[in-house]
Chain length 336, copies 2
């Protein structure tokens, strides 16, 4: 693995893109040339990378044949527009936007289904699942050999940063207005998010399901390799800046052995299990960390074949940028 | 019902007690004499009632034989200490603290199980369920004739006011400190609640379940009259001042008929169903209102025999004070 690769990051100035660039440096990703691409707002900006300031460039006239691997960390529409060009130029690509159908770009979480890569061929086209699906998969994968899942019930409380920079700015603005007793005019969200909880993230389809929920269910099934798994998913918007919190209830084929579950999670890659009695939160535990935090392991109140748990994860790290970089590492090590 | 009754409110100066006193006035509850009781902090305070300022008194030397009905709206320990004295003096009582076992003080929500009162005798001893259980019961009761529930999965996101005045003060204080970039020392909660979500409300028992969750499951079963109902309950603490938000997933015996569910909820007492596509939140919708708000009705993503919904309710009104006052009205009208 002494080889280095020319790489592009699309959306490099965003919440996810910036973290991704930091992680490439931190993890000593074998980059020969790094091309940072973004939209019009970032023209002229630059980002630090290995002691230099790299200029951010416009994507429009980028020549994809200069690079081997592209991370798509901008809006879904950008992936849809530029992925074909990147592919035509022979690039492998890792999408973080959820734009590409599961069949075209399988969702991969290294801790759960890295073996999917064996079924693909060059140029590789992969996707990192939504942040909530990634966190869930990291925790459920090591339990697969231990329990047979009948149904996964999850309420995912998403941070405003799931909506990018604008979500973060809006929560801060609204909170300040309210504490200063000024009247509130919601801008980015459709109503007050400060000191409130919004029942849905994004616009739902005709059957009432939001895209975030459809993705969470479909990606969980794919990553866990269980296409018939029942998944009940609700994504809500919490007044939290960074970090997703998941309340999870698993229905199992048989009575849960909590000691074995605890042991499996203690030994699991990418998981940080907190002590019984304690619990992790996004602020103070998960945010800024690579691991997905788990706590509140308990069997059901009214059903022994039920396992409840709580997950806290950094949506901009393992939820997106870190998982994508890990996929890049896998590709480079074994496939490219 | 021209008769009026002497009444006492224990914990009259608290979050719930103050609302209760307001509701007694607003709803023209037939009070002849109102006795406001509280702890040491409230000595010398007074509260407005029907144009007068009523003095708050210490509970220690209160003579319960002066009143017919007592609302217990202070901590559970106060109910445990003074309920026997009130009963011995012949008072009927309505507990809001959850202190008394279900067998001694049945939980009642008028919209769901008012008929329980027929099985009791004077002096009556009733309890209002926890705020989340009350909201859930108001929504599920009108659906009982329509669907057979196999399991209720609920994640209840509770407001800090569920912890009384101190919870409210602490969220405001922490948020102000953070926005002013001052270091944060959590006081009332065990860690940062501002811009965070806490995975549990109160200290869990050895099996990991918090009291709030055990109550929610047990009270839901009792109020819905379904002692074998499976209930999976998680209560989390949200950085929200007032109003509880419930993410609910119901597993049913058969495929859900959404049109019929919608019709049943539209006609249901105490329920405000929001339009399909829209959703209610605590801020702006539920808080300050009598009704329990429901939205996001949808069948399961991966299961037709699943009904998902979202509930927003004012924990200090229907969640406690209003439900208790309604119980008082029932008692007075038909039983006392
Ligand atoms: N935030 C999360 O937690 C999270 C988690 C998982 C997946 N994702 C996904 O990751 C993607 C980025 O999200 P984000 O939160 O980082 O958003 P963001 O903070 O709003 O950043 C968006 C990025 O896209 C760039 N961009 C805009 N128009 C462009 C164009 N025409 N060509 C190239 N780049 C363009 C922006 O650059 P300018 O500033 O110059 O416009 C910026 O760098 C989205 O698809 C999102 O769904 C996000
Ligand atoms: N908040 C909710 O959403 C909610 C919902 C359902 C049920 N509940 C239950 O309702 C009860 C009250 O909750 P809250 O939120 O209103 O609490 P709170 O705001 O802290 O108020 C507590 C009340 O109890 C009084 N009190 C304290 N010590 C007393 C004593 N020795 N004798 C008599 N009164 C005493 C306090 O008076 P001083 O100020 O003088 O001490 C105050 O009036 C609790 O049991 C709670 O679990 C609350």
């Amino acid at each position: 693995m002494s080889q280095s690769f020319a790489i592009a990051v699309v959306g490099a100035t965003g919440t996810v893109g910036e973290t991704l660039v930091q992680l490439l440096e931190e993890r000593e990703f074998p980059v020969s040339d790094l091309h940072l691409l973004a939209g019009r707002d970032s023209q002229g900006h630059s980002l630090p990378f290995r002691g230099k300031n790299l200029r951010v460039r416009a994507i429009e006239d980028f020549d994809f044949s200069q690079v081997r691997l592209v991370f798509f960390a901008a809006e879904a529409s950008i992936t849809l527009e530029y992925a074909p060009r990147a592919r035509a130029a022979g690039c492998s690509l890792i999408d973080l936007s959820g734009a590409l159908p599961l069949e075209q770009a399988p969702r991969v979480v290294p801790e759960a289904n890295a073996d999917v890569l064996d079924t693909l061929s060059t140029p590789y086209q992969l996707a990192s699942p939504s942040a909530a699906a990634t966190a869930l998969a990291v925790v459920l994968a090591p339990l697969r050999s231990l329990l047979t899942l009948r149904r996964v019930n999850v309420t995912a409380c998403l941070a405003v940063s799931a909506q990018g920079h604008e979500g973060v700015t809006e929560l801060a603005r609204q909170t300040t207005e309210l504490l200063n007793m000024r009247p509130l005019e919601p801008r980015f969200f459709d109503r007050q998010i400060a000191f409130n909880l919004l029942a849905q993230v994004g616009v739902p389809d005709d059957s009432g399901h939001a895209h975030s929920e459809i993705r969470l269910a479909a990606e969980t099934r794919q990553v866990l390799g269980d296409s018939g798994l029942k998944v009940s998913a609700t994504c809500i918007q919490a007044p939290v800046f960074f970090g997703d919190s998941l309340s999870v209830s698993l229905e199992l084929e048989s009575v849960v052995d909590l000691v074995a579950v605890r042991e499996a999670l203690e030994g699991a890659t990418g998981v940080e299990l907190v002590d019984a009695g304690d619990y992790p939160t996004v602020v103070g535990d998960a945010v800024g960390q690579d691991a997905v935090y788990v706590g509140r392991l308990r069997s059901g109140l009214t059903d022994d074949a039920e396992l409840n748990l709580w997950i806290a994860s950094d949506n901009a790290r393992k939820g997106s940028a870190l998982n994508a970089v890990q996929l890049g590492e896998l590709l480079i090590k074994h496939y490219l």
